[in-house]
Structure formats: C-alpha cells, structure tokens
Amino acid sequence: MLRFFLRRFAVAVLVALTVLTLAFLLTRVSGDLAISIAGPNATQADVDAIREAYGLNRPLVVQYFDWLGRAVQGDFGQSYFFRDRVANLIAARMPVTVTLGLVGLAIALVVSLPLGILAAVREGTWVDRLVGLVAMIGQAMPSFWLGLVLMIVFGLQLGWVPISGVETWDGYILPGIVLAFSAIPSLTRLTRSGMIEALASDYIRTARAKGLTRLSILVKHGFRNAAIPVVSIAAVQLGFMLGGSIVIETVFALHGVGFLAWESISKNDFPVVQAVVLVLALIYIALTLLADLLNAVLDPRLRTA
C-alpha cells in the first residue's frame, strides 16, 4: 500500500512539474513579454526599463528556475489590474469555488448513484429507459440556459432562494444544481453499466447462494465493485466543476476563481490567468491522485500493482 502510494505520488509530482514548465514556456513563446506589458504607446526606453525591472534580460534558464522557485512557494507575482498579490486574489476566491464544486458534486452523486443502481436493477424495463432519457436531456441542456430558467422560476417567481451571490448558504443551491447537471448524465450511466456488470458476476450469484439480503447483495457486494470507475470519473468531474464553473459563476455573480479568470482574461491580466490555470491544473492532479488512492482502498487488487 505504501509503495503504491509513493509511486502514484511520484507520478503526480512529475506531472505537476511538467504543467509548471509548460505554463512558463507558454508565456515566453506568446511574444515579447516586455513589449506586451509596456503597452502599445511605449517607447523603446520604456520597454528596456521594464525588461530590466522584471528580469527579462536574464538567460531563459535562470528566469525559469527563479519563477519556478517562487511559484512552488505560492508566489505568482503581482496582478497588473488589481492592486494585490496574485496569490491573495486566488486565496480569497478559492473558498467560493471549492464550496460550489463540492455542493455540485454532492448533488450529482445523490442523484446519479441511486438512479444508476435503479436502472441497472430494472435493466431493459421502462424504468431503465426513463433514466436513460433523463440523463440524455440533462446532457443536452446548456448550463447557462438552465441557470437562467432556475433563477427565474425559483428565485424570481417563487422566491425560495437568492438569485445571485452567496451571502447566505442557500445561494449555493441553484448554481450547485446547475453544476451537478453537467455531471449527472455520465455518473448515472457509469453507475448503471458498472452495476449491470457487477450484478451479472459470479460473486453476486455466490452472495445470493449465501442467502444474503437484497440490500447487502446490491450495495455491499454489487455497488462496492461498481464504484471503482465511478470514483475515477467523479474526481474528473469535480475537476471540471472547479475549472469549468466560469459560466455559472458569471451567471450567478459568484466571486469565485472562475469569475476571477473571466475578469482577468478580459483585462489582459496575464499573471492572474497563468496562476489560475496553474492552480486548477494542480487541483486536478491532486484529485486524480486522491481517486487513485480511493480506488486502492476499494479494490485490493490495485494495491499490489
């Protein structure tokens, strides 16, 4: 188990380093940084001064290690637009995005796991087909449109929940639902197919021959094995939710990382954009590692691999 963990951790660190290196290189190949920082009306003297001030006249390797050294300490430099450190900007907005992502994932799991299990148990019946139809409609629905519809119905007409902001906890409900909708179809389908495979297996026949209760057969013996691919995909979906909440944060005016990314892109605030991309990539890597570890807990055969 320890060896398994160390190996996965080493791979994760390597991937993270690759991402950091790519992020650095991309900013260097997208043109002369000094010129783009100085702006269109700058003189050559201004550009030289900026090049000197930002250390852009040093060899590329030196710049890389200097940047890397500061990046791993969480220092992403100064925002051009906001009068603040990039790290502070992200840290201030991260809780909103993470909360939203977790709420979204929780809703998605609460809906899709029972639906998937139900569809598998009733495979081939109208229940199964109805679940498939719901999943398909969910997948086909654009999230900004669903967000607006929910806002109008539950926020404006019924007045049950706030339509924007997260001053109170219930502000997370509508955006959480919209975010969950993007993950529900794939999680439901995966749960269904995993359960169908598990329920047809010999060990389920053994469990039935042992006289176990239906609940124990379905959940303890069936779902435990079907959950392995679901965990992997749920981790990827959470990554998507954290990184892909730009649209939803904008629609619901939530000041999270997605909203920050949108603002920064529109204002050419490249240190912020770069840092947001990096942080999200690192979160993604961490989630994948977490999923691997969870799978090793679920499936003992993976631990020796």
Binding site: D202, Y203, G211, H221, N225, P300
Partner: protein, 325 residues
Amino acid sequence: MSALLEVADLRVTIGSTAAVRGASLTVNKGETHCLVGESGCGKSITALSVMGLLPRGAVRETTALRFAGEEIGRYGERQMERLRGDRMAMIFQEPMTSLNPAYTVGSQMTEVLRRHRGTPRAQAVDRAAELLARVGITAPGLRLGQYPHQLSGGLRQRVMIAMALMCDPELLIADEPTTALDVTVQAQILRLLAGLQKDLGLGILLITHDLGIVARVADRVSVMYAGEVVESAPTAALFAAPEHPYTRGLLTCVPVPGKAKRDEPLGSIPGVVPRIQPGFAGCGFRDRCAQASAACAGTIPRREASVGHEVLCTLPPRWGGAAAA
C-alpha cells in the same frame, strides 16, 4: 434412509426454451447423488431451481419440491433467503470468480454466519478458521486476512467449500466443483467432499460430466439429457447394466483401464444436445440415437429395469444383450 430433497416433475422454461422437462430426483440424507450429462442438458438449471436462484425470466413449475419434508416450492424470496446458505448451500464451477474481489476471505466467510445466526464477529472468525483448517488449508489465520486474488484456484474452491459449511447445512449442491481445477487438486477436493459427508452427514447433489468422478463418489446417479432424467440408478447398477442408449453412449466415451483396447477408437455420440421448444413431444435423444424407431416420437414410458433403476426409453430391458459398455 430418509429423503432430504425430493424434486418431482420439475419444469423450467426460459424464454422459448424448455430447459428442464419433468425431471424428478431424490437426495437422501448422507448420500451423494450425481447428476451427469453433456453441457446444456439442464443439470445446472435443475440445481439452481432447488436453490431458488434461477435467472430472471425463467419460469419454474413442480408438482413437489420438498426439502427436509417441507414443501419449499411455494416459498417466497424472503423464505428462500433464510434457507440458502443456512440449511442448503451451493458451490460453483468457477472458483476464480465466485469470491468477491473486494473483501477478505474472512469477511466473506463470517458474513454467512452473521447473517443467519447473528453470531458475534469474534466467534464467527473462530468458526471460519476452524473450517479452513477442516478443508485442509494450512495457516488459516493468515488466509482469513487475504483477498481472493492472493489465492490459487484450488485454495479458492476450498474457501468456497468452507464458506458453504459455515452454518452446517443439511444439503450441499456442488455444480462441477472440480472442472476448473487441475487433476491433482480435483482428487483432493473430491476426497475432501467425501470426508466431510462421512463426518457431517451431508446430503450432496453433485453435478458433473466426469464419469470417473461418478464412479468414485456417487451413491446414486441420474443421467440428464435435454432437460429430462433419462436414467436413474444406484451407481453400481448403472455402470454394470446401463439401459438408456444415451447412458451407454456416455460410457463408451470413457476409456476403462483393462477394457479399452489399444488402436480401437473410443466411442462418441454424433451430434449435439438439441434446444427443446415448449410443446416438444417424445424422446429428446431420438435424432442422435441409433436405436430410434417411430415409437420414440410418442409418449415415452418410464420403466423400472431393476429395483431403484428407472429408464425413460421405448427399448425393452437389456436390449442388445448384456450391457454394451
């Protein structure tokens, strides 16, 4: 000897296939009853019918399905659940895949006892270790903490047997328990089953297509063909005087030391087991039978060739002179 399991006129239909067509058999206490026949003859379906484990869409009918004197044919799923794993247990052909890969051997074994008897964990673990030792597994304490993928096929089948014995069942149904194992392990498993039967007084319904196994362990044999029991007899009688052309055919397929001659080909039965539709009349074997006549398309009489030796065939007793095999 009293009957532990009585199956009378069992019929199972799966979709448009009549998988079992009026099979009857009796397993007495402390007796091994072998069910033999080619693949697709309805042996496993018969066993699953008794356990109430038929696949979805299968329809079962019987005139009687008695277990320890009780009619269980009308039992609901809840009642069958309580019986399975407790008083009747089953082991399967596929030891490699029949254990759940996600749980330890100990967890899967103790689960049965905890479910049926509410035994505390510590006591259930003791019982599991005792049974693992009983089925010839060394270091049972170590094995209890291991996962199925850490065990060989032979060990897994022993675990399956030990697990089946957790609640001291009266009936053990073994569906080709040694087919997937290599020959030396096969012999060990069979010796083990025979020993357990002697010690615990188990009734065993053993499904196999290996007549060598039948000759060694069976008290009584039923030969199944196309969903029917075509011949049923005490083991010695069946091997000495097989009556049904199918039984004789099966026996000529097996080399007998001292009898099979060098350069003389072993027998074989041409053709395959047909898929029988509901409403089929007559003998299911007639298309492959060298002795078939017009009478074989009608109702086939069930005759008694000798005491306890029944045959489903139109041919007269001891046709073609002495036993052909």
